[in-house]
């Protein structure tokens, strides 16, 4: 099928399957799946600027469905989501401007590829270290009889001491989040959201791969709530990202629409699946995903051609 806006030929079945896989990932991990979608579009010869913008558009649709599912399951902190949306939008604009600057300089594909590889590897390594340490310490507590019954199912994290220190920073205004059970400075929330937004605008997608771990480790939000709230927040920020990228000529909406048809079914499966897994296990299962994205980017970079 020919997509005239991005001037590319892509099999629609390929797009639907990619959308389906991303839908499952989004519903389960609360991430937009751009670490798969971006490289998957790149693999078909779509330029990075189109891959970034189109992925954002596709994520709007996918996140609406997944966020609705999570809201029904009580996994969304609306107050946190609205606050984060402001920081993300500012960050997304910065990221989009960086893309524009690279587009003008004529090296958008190479720079974004290298940044993507570094970011994907970094996230996978950190989450592997943290979730393994958490699961090991959880087992240790259980064996020594310190943790019993439902207590062992709580969302423990090896990064908790750092999270507690961040929560102790009393920088006005302090925000209470009753749904998440957290009291934290508004500036911390905005900073986390802003960083996520920059990655969203620069590497595409909702940047859930960086925001979801940040919400858990920096803000101290329970994993299930972080997943749902991240998706809700992505609806707002990705909508803004879609508009700003479309105005800059980086969105092929036809590709996004085709991909999204597969994502609808996948998102439903993913959202329901989160109920059967504990927080650290969800995070451990997340580890291979950015690595797959990195592998695809390395492949396109090394071989220099598409399938």
């Amino acid at each position: 099928m020919f997509f005239p806006i991005s001037d590319s030929h892509i099999n629609p079945i390929y797009l639907v399957v990619v959308g389906f896989i991303i839908g499952i990932l989004g519903g389960f991990f609360g991430v937009g799946g751009s670490f798969i979608a971006g490289p998957a579009l790149r693999l078909m010869g779509v330029d990075w600027n189109y891959a970034v913008g189109t992925d954002l558009a596709h994520i709007v649709g996918k996140s609406i469905v997944a966020a609705k599912q999570h809201r029904a399951l009580g996994n969304v902190d609306l107050k946190l989501g609205f606050f984060m949306a402001f920081g993300t939008i500012a960050g997304a604009e910065c990221g989009a401007q960086l893309i524009q600057a690279l587009k003008r300089a004529g090296n958008v594909n190479i720079v974004v590829s290298y940044v993507a590889i570094v970011v994907y590897f970094g996230i996978a390594a950190f989450m592997l270290w943290e979730s393994r340490k958490t699961l090991r310490s959880g087992r240790g507590r259980s064996q020594s009889g310190l943790v019993k019954g439902s207590e062992s199912k709580k969302d423990h994290s090896a990064f908790s001491p750092v999270t507690r220190n961040i929560q102790r920073l009393k920088i006005w205004p302090m925000i209470t989040l009753p749904t998440s059970g957290v009291r934290i400075s508004l500036w911390t929330i905005l900073l986390v959201a802003f960083v996520g937004g920059v990655f969203s605008g620069f590497l595409g997608g909702g940047a859930g791969y960086i925001r979801m771990p940040s919400m858990v480790y920096v803000l101290g939000i329970p994993t299930h709530l972080a997943v749902g709230t991240d998706l809700f927040e992505i609806v707002i920020s990705a909508s803004y990202g879609t508009i700003t990228h479309a105005i800059k000529g980086n969105v092929d909406i036809l590709i996004a629409l085709v991909m999204h048809t597969g994502a609808v079914i996948g998102a439903q499966i993913g959202a329901v699946s989160t109920q059967y897994f504990a927080g650290p296990k969800i995070r451990l299962a997340f580890v291979p995903l950015p690595l797959i994205g990195a592998a695809i980017v390395i492949y396109t970079l090394v071989t220099g051609h598409k399938f």
Binding site: P4, P12, I265
Partner: protein
Amino acid sequence: MKKQAAKSLRAFAIELAIYSVLVTVYFFLVLHLLGEWLYHLEAQHRYMYALVALLLIAGQAVALDAVTTLLFRLLRGRWR
């Protein structure tokens, strides 16, 4: 329990098959016709294109979610 799982799986397989047919029809009837118009809109009216793009993806999300929910409800009722 196993019987219930088999029923759910069957309902899901049928949902997937019906959904695939609907999506194929949608590809040819809607996206094929929209392609040319969107291409010109993108080239000539960027701001309008941005708005239309957002409305299209959001509209599709709501519509497809309604279709899948309806399909799932109908099939679950039938196979119960």
